[in-house]
Amino acid sequence: MLYYARTEALRMLRNRRYIIFVVLFPVVFYLINANIYGNQTAEDGVRVAVYLMVSMAAYGALSASMMSSAVPWAQERQTGWLRQLQITPLPGWAIIVTKLGAAMLLVLPSLVLVFAVAVLQQGVTLPVSRWVPLLLALWLGTIPFIALGLAIGSLLAPDAAQPVAMICMFALALLGGLWFPVQVMGGTIRAIAELTPSYRYADLGWNIVAGNGLPLTDVLVVAGWAVVLGAAATFAYRRATVRA
């Protein structure tokens, strides 16, 4: 199973689309934005370059979560690769758990690269006591997005999964305030944004870098979404692999 997870990760690293969208975009967006706004200081005295680092890392992790789950999984179902695995001794639950594990591995390059660029190019510094929780929160917080991607991949054919996953990803990024702060949004949209897993997920990171610790509401909302979307993914997986 470890070898399976390793192979899954390797395979995505060779996928050009994954590399461009997931690894390059967040870094490039960060460089552009940080070089324009980075030296401003937010109301609470934190440099914007630091907040942007969290936003772009969160965006990268969000897109990695969705890109490495929905479409590859839909393709494997359609092309018969899933059946190839189903006739090996690998149990059915292990297939979906491995997918989750591999997707989580694939989130790490986006996070680490954006952090690295922030440190090297913008001179961002944080105490270790903030780096470690930041990485962990932004890493574990991707579970709801991966679950969403797997649910999409289980329910839809590849042709449909591709646009649906893209729309979900952009909607979550936009509503979650990963590109523009939610503060600039109108009241209603902002109220909706605060219910999304993506806003709460990024908010974990923003609070950590500001030294506010972990807001309980954010943790609960992200965990709640993880449970709901995890259940949806499990249900969809069962439906997709049902042995009629």
């Binding site: 070898y3 399976y4 189903q86 090996t88």
Partner: protein, 294 residues
């Protein structure tokens, strides 16, 4: 203990009855062809044998276990129809991935040799030709050293030479005392590469035996001649004739007694018989006779 047992197995997809009260037994170590036209229930039977589909009624056992248990124990390997590979992985990575999921797999080198993949191991799956991809899929099917190998129309995408090489590989694998069941609608394949042929049509077994036995069971010879526009009435009452078919001005009489039929054809009818040929039954005739719509 028998390798494969179907006991009164039926499978319907709503209105369509794909497999109809199918019972058959296959002993270990045999290479068996499941021969039938498209839609005969071959793929459905194989998918049920792998636990990918559940029978509507009846039971299937594999070495005394359920299909799911047999799969979990690593006893099954299969080449199913239309299975694609992961494009970004190399041949070696694909084989290694699958073989590591089995408890007692074959060595990588042995798989590469059996599947004839020598110079392809480092190639990515998306750079393989159709025939090469089929060989990789065969490699994946045998990677876990399964006791039972199922092949669902394995040569469908292959050219003639690839086919020959493929059947050699299959024979090498079967030689280790393993059971092989392959589905095909090619008669020659069933005839040449199996030691038993099970003919199915409309989800039922219609013949079962060696290719030679099946030919003999249908029996007799076929007399063909150009009948043109002449009336065909009465041909079916000639001595020995078991079936008459008229296609494009040619009459084909299946007969169990060639001498009597020919004698009567010339003496007891007023037909002008031209271009007469006489052929013994081949497996193709047998197959057509067995699977013909009633």
């Amino acid at each position: 203990m028998d390798a494969i047992v179907f006991d009164q197995v039926s499978k319907d997809y709503g209105e369509v009855l794909a497999v109809d009260d199918l019972s058959l037994t296959i002993e270990p170590g045999r290479t068996v062809a499941l021969l039938g036209p498209n839609g005969a229930g071959k793929s459905t039977s194989i998918n049920m044998l792998l636990g990918l589909l559940k029978p509507t009624s009846g039971t299937i056992s594999v070495h005394g276990r359920t299909p799911d248990q047999a799969v979990a124990a690593g006893a099954m390997g299969a080449m199913l129809q239309s299975g694609e590979l992961i494009p970004e992985l190399t041949v070696k990575e694909l084989i290694d991935l699958i073989r590591r999921l089995y408890p007692q797999p074959l060595d990588l080198a042995e798989i590469v040799k059996l599947a004839d993949l020598g110079d392809l191991v480092k190639r990515r799956a998306n750079k393989l030709s159709g025939g090469q991809a089929q060989r990789v899929r065969f490699a994946l099917a045998i990677a876990g050293a399964p006791k039972i190998l199922l092949l669902d129309e394995p040569t469908a995408a292959m050219d003639v030479e690839s086919r020959l090489r493929f059947w050699e590989s299959m024979r090498d694998y079967a030689a280790g005392g393993r059971t092989v069941l392959f589905a095909t609608h090619y008669l020659e394949e069933a005839d040449e590469h199996s030691d038993r042929v099970i003919v199915i049509a409309k989800g039922k077994v219609v013949a079962d035996g060696t290719a030679a036995e099946i030919k003999a069971g249908v029996g007799g010879h076929t007399v063909r001649f150009a009948i043109g526009e002449q009336p065909a009435a009465g041909l079916d009452r000639l001595p020995g004739v078991t079936a008459v078919e008229i296609v494009a001005g040619t009459a084909a009489l299946r007969t169990s007694d060639t001498d009597a039929t020919l004698n009567a054809l010339y003496r007891a009818t007023s037909l002008e018989v031209r271009d007469l040929t006489l052929t013994g039954a081949d497996l193709e005739d047998a197959f057509l006779a067995l699977t013909r719509e009633p």
